[in-house]
C-alpha cells in the first residue's frame, strides 16, 4: 500500500489533492512545467520535479516522464486530477503496468466511458435513458453524419467523441451550416484531445444539466452523493454550480430515482473510485444520460460542502483497496452550496481570455467561504493552460443565505493584473431569474446580458466620474512632476564635470 502520491496536474486542483494527502499523512510529489516553477503546488509539495517546457504536450501530457518520476521518487500512486491525463485509459494502464496505483477508475471503465458513443450504448443496454443521437458508432465521416442529421432532427449538437469541457462542441440549427461547423468542431477536438472524431446528439431545449456524484469501492459498494446543478454555462463551459439543484429542490423521490439510475450506469462498467454521471433533465422532469466523467470534477467541493464527505480523501481510500467510509444511508444533503468559477476572462469583452501577472490579490474569507486556488500575487497567468484561476465556494443553511453570502464574498474578492469574470458572477447573483432558480443551459447565452441583467444595484455614474477624473488628474500631475525632475536630475556643476571628463 502506498504512502507517497504523485500529483500529475497543476493549478488549484493540484493544490486541492495535495491538501487531502497532507491531511492523510501522505507524502506528495509535484510535477511542473517551466512556466510553473513558482506555482503553489510546487511550493507546497514535499518533492517537485521538472517535466519540460510550458506547452502541455511537452510537460503535463508527458505520461512517460511522469511515470518515470513516480518510480524514481518512490511514489506508490498517481492522482491525475482533471484535464490533462485525467481521462486517458492508456495512461491509467501504463501506471498499473509499472506496478503503481492509479487514483481513479480502471482503464477499462475510462475507455468505455471515454468514447462517448460506447458509453451511450453501454448505459442504454443497462436500462438508462439516453438523449437520441448517433448511437454507439464512433468514427463516422462527415458525409455519413450529414445523412443521419435530419433523422435525429435539428437543432442538434456536434460533440467530440473524446470530448469534455465544451471543446469540439457545436450547436447546429440546419443542414446548410453543418459542414462548416463539423469542420471547426473536428479541428478543435483534434487540437484539444488529439482525436478529431465527433458524434451527433439531439439538443434538448429548455433542459437543465444536472449531475450525480458517484463513489464506488473495489468491494462492490456504489453510492451517490446527490446532485449538482450545472446549468449555468457558456459555450458549454460550466460557470456556476450549486448543490442541491433548485429544480429538484425537495423532490426527494426524483433525487433518489436519478441517483439510482446513476449508480446503475456506474455499475454497467464496473466502476471504481469517484465519478460523475451527467444528465439532461427536461421541463417535465424526464432525465437522459449525457455522459460520465471518469475523474474528479472541478465542482466537487459543493458536494463536499453539503454532504460533509471529503471526496479526494475517499478517492485515496478507495485506491488503497479499502471500503468506503460511508454507506448510502449515511449520505444526507444539508444546507446549500454554490461555486463560482473565477476565470481569467473579460466579461465585458466577450469573455476573451486575459493573461498577465497578478499584482494584487485579496481572497474572500469569513464564515461559510472556501477558496480553492493555485495563484498568489506575483503569479503569471500564461496562455498555455486553462483560464480557471480559482473556485469560490460558499455554504449557507438555505439557498437564500448562500446567494447573499456569495454576493458578499464576490465583493471582497480583489484580483489585480488580469481581468476576471467576477463582475459576471456579481450580475448573475443580482439577476431575478437566478434568484428564482428559473434558468436552463441556454440562460447565460440567450437571456443574460452584462448591460441589462442584475437590476438590483443602483447605477452610480457620478461616483464613477469622480474616480475617473481623480485618476486622470493624478496622472497629469505625475507626468508634469517627472518632466520637472528630469530637468534637474543632477546639479549643473556635476553635469559640467561629467561633460568635461567625457571630452578629455
Amino acid at each position: 500500500m502506498f504512502n507517497k502520491v504523485l500529483i500529475a496536474n497543476r493549478g488549484e486542483i493540484a493544490v486541492r489533492i495535495l491538501r487531502a494527502c497532507r491531511e492523510l499523512g501522505m507524502e506528495t510529489v509535484a510535477v511542473y512545467s517551466e512556466a510553473d516553477r513558482q506555482a503553489l503546488h510546487v511550493r507546497l509539495a514535499d518533492e517537485a520535479y521538472l517535466l519540460g517546457p510550458a506547452p502541455s504536450r511537452e510537460s503535463y501530457l508527458r505520461s512517460d516522464k511522469i511515470i518515470e518520476i513516480a518510480k524514481k521518487s518512490g511514489a506508490g500512486a498517481i492522482h491525475p486530477g482533471y484535464g490533462f491525463l485525467g481521462e486517458r485509459a492508456d495512461f491509467a494502464q501504463a501506471v498499473l503496468d509499472e506496478g503503481l496505483a492509479f487514483i481513479g477508475p480502471k482503464p477499462s471503465a475510462i475507455a468505455a466511458m471515454g468514447d462517448k458513443g460506447v458509453a451511450r450504448a453501454t448505459v442504454a443496454a443497462a436500462g438508462v435513458p439516453v438523449v437520441p443521437g448517433t448511437e454507439g458508432e464512433g468514427g463516422l465521416s462527415n458525409d455519413e453524419l450529414l445523412k443521419i442529421a435530419p433523422e435525429i432532427g435539428f437543432p442538434l449538437l456536434v460533440k467530440a467523441t473524446a470530448g469534455g469541457g465544451g471543446k469540439g462542441m457545436r450547436e447546429v440549427h440546419n443542414l446548410q451550416e453543418m459542414p462548416l461547423l463539423l469542420q471547426s468542431a473536428r479541428r478543435e477536438a483534434e487540437s484539444a484531445f488529439g482525436d478529431g472524431n465527433v458524434y451527433l446528439e439531439k439538443l434538448v431545449e429548455g433542459a437543465r444539466h444536472i449531475e450525480i456524484q458517484i463513489l464506488a469501492d473495489e468491494h462492490g459498494n456504489v453510492i451517490h452523493l446527490g446532485e449538482r446543478e450545472c446549468s449555468l454555462q457558456r459555450r458549454h463551459q460550466k460557470l456556476l454550480e450549486e448543490a442541491p439543484s433548485p429544480f429538484i429542490g425537495d423532490d426527494e423521490e426524483l433525487r433518489q430515482r436519478i441517483g439510482q439510475v446513476a449508480v446503475r450506469a456506474a455499475q454497467s462498467v464496473s466502476y471504481v473510485n469517484a465519478g460523475t454521471i451527467e444528465f439532461l433533465v427536461d421541463r417535465d422532469k424526464n432525465f437522459f444520460f449525457l455522459e460520465m466523467n471518469t475523474r474528479l470534477q472541478v465542482e466537487h467541493p459543493i458536494t463536499e460542502a453539503v454532504t460533509g464527505v471529503d471526496i479526494v480523501k475517499e478517492q485515496i481510500r478507495i485506491a488503497r483497496g479499502r471500503t468506503l467510509s460511508i454507506t448510502q444511508e449515511d449520505v444526507q444533503m444539508n444546507g446549500w452550496a454554490i461555486e463560482c468559477r473565477v476565470n481569467a476572462e473579460d466579461p465585458y469583452n466577450n469573455f476573451m481570455p486575459s493573461t498577465g501577472r497578478i499584482t494584487h490579490l485579496i481572497l474572500p474569507t469569513g464564515p461559510g467561504v472556501r477558496v480553492d486556488t493555485g495563484v498568489f500575487p506575483g503569479f503569471e497567468i500564461s496562455p498555455y493552460y486553462d483560464s480557471l484561476i480559482s473556485k469560490l465556494i460558499v455554504f449557507g443553511q438555505t439557498r437564500a443565505e448562500a446567494i447573499l453570502r456569495m454576493r458578499r464574498a464576490l465583493e471582497e474578492y480583489k484580483i489585480v493584473g488580469v481581468r476576471t469574470n467576477i463582475p459576471f458572477h456579481q450580475k448573475l447573483m443580482d439577476s431575478h431569474r437566478f434568484m428564482a432558480g428559473q434558468f436552463d443551459t441556454q440562460f447565460v447565452e440567450k437571456r443574460f446580458d452584462m448591460e441589462t441583467s442584475g437590476q438590483a444595484r443602483k447605477p452610480i455614474p457620478e461616483i464613477a466620474a469622480i474616480f475617473a477624473t481623480l485618476v486622470a488628474h493624478e496622472n497629469t500631475e505625475r507626468s508634469t512632476h517627472v518632466i520637472q525632475r528630469n530637468e534637474r536630475d543632477t546639479s549643473n556643476w556635476k553635469w559640467l564635470g561629467r561633460w568635461e571628463r567625457l571630452h578629455r
Binding site: 493573461t355 496562455p383 493552460y385 483560464s387 456579481q426 455614474p461 457620478e462 461616483i463 488628474h473
Partner: protein
C-alpha cells in the same frame, strides 16, 4: 482644475477644488481618495460613503469597475474640451483598421488573404489561447491588406495581425 468627464455618453463637469473637495455638476462633495498600495485599485470616501473601484487605462479611455458595474469614462480638461469643440472633433470613420491580438496565443487559421473583400462580422483569424479557439471578426466591411502573421505562429498581446482598408 476643471474637467469634462463623459460616462456612458453623459457629460459631467468635474471641478477639483483641492485634495478633499470635488464639485460634480455644481454639487460639492467632500472626498478622500487613496490608491491602495500603488495598485489600480482605488478607495474613495464620498461624504463618508466608502467605494472601491478598479480603474483600468486603455488607449484613450478609462474603465471604472465599481459596485459590480463597468463604466467607460473619457476625461478631458476644460481647455482641451474647448479646443476640440472649436475644431469639431469626433473620431473620423476611415483609415486602416488594425486587427490586434487581444491576448497572446497561437494562430490556428487565417481564413482570409491579402486583397480579399470582406463583410462586417467575417472571421479574419482564429487565435487559440488557454485551450479555447477564439474567432476574431471584422468590425466593418473592407479589403484585407497585409496579413502579417502565419498559421502556427505564436503572437504577443496587442501584436498587429493584419489590417483592413
Amino acid at each position: 482644475m476643471k474637467y469634462i468627464t463623459t460616462i456612458n455618453e453623459h457629460e459631467y463637469l468635474v471641478d477639483i477644488l483641492d485634495d478633499h473637495r470635488v464639485v460634480v455638476n455644481g454639487v460639492c462633495y467632500v472626498v478622500d481618495f487613496e490608491s491602495v498600495s500603488g495598485q489600480p485599485v482605488f478607495s474613495l470616501l464620498v461624504d463618508g460613503k466608502s467605494y472601491e473601484a478598479y480603474v483600468y487605462e486603455s488607449d484613450s479611455d478609462l474603465e471604472v469597475l465599481v459596485n459590480g458595474a463597468l463604466y467607460t469614462a473619457a476625461v478631458v480638461d476644460e481647455r482641451e474640451h474647448r479646443l476640440r469643440s472649436a475644431f469639431g472633433s469626433g473620431p473620423v470613420q476611415s483609415g486602416e483598421f488594425y486587427l490586434k491580438a487581444p491576448m497572446p496565443g497561437l494562430v490556428i487559421d487565417i481564413p482570409v488573404e491579402d486583397g480579399q473583400k470582406i463583410g462586417e462580422g467575417d472571421v479574419l483569424l482564429i487565435l487559440e489561447s488557454m485551450k479555447m479557439q477564439n474567432e476574431l471578426k471584422a468590425p466593418r466591411a473592407g479589403v484585407v491588406s497585409r496579413v502579417r502573421v502565419k498559421v502556427g505562429e505564436n503572437v504577443e498581446r496587442r501584436q498587429t495581425l493584419l489590417s483592413v482598408i
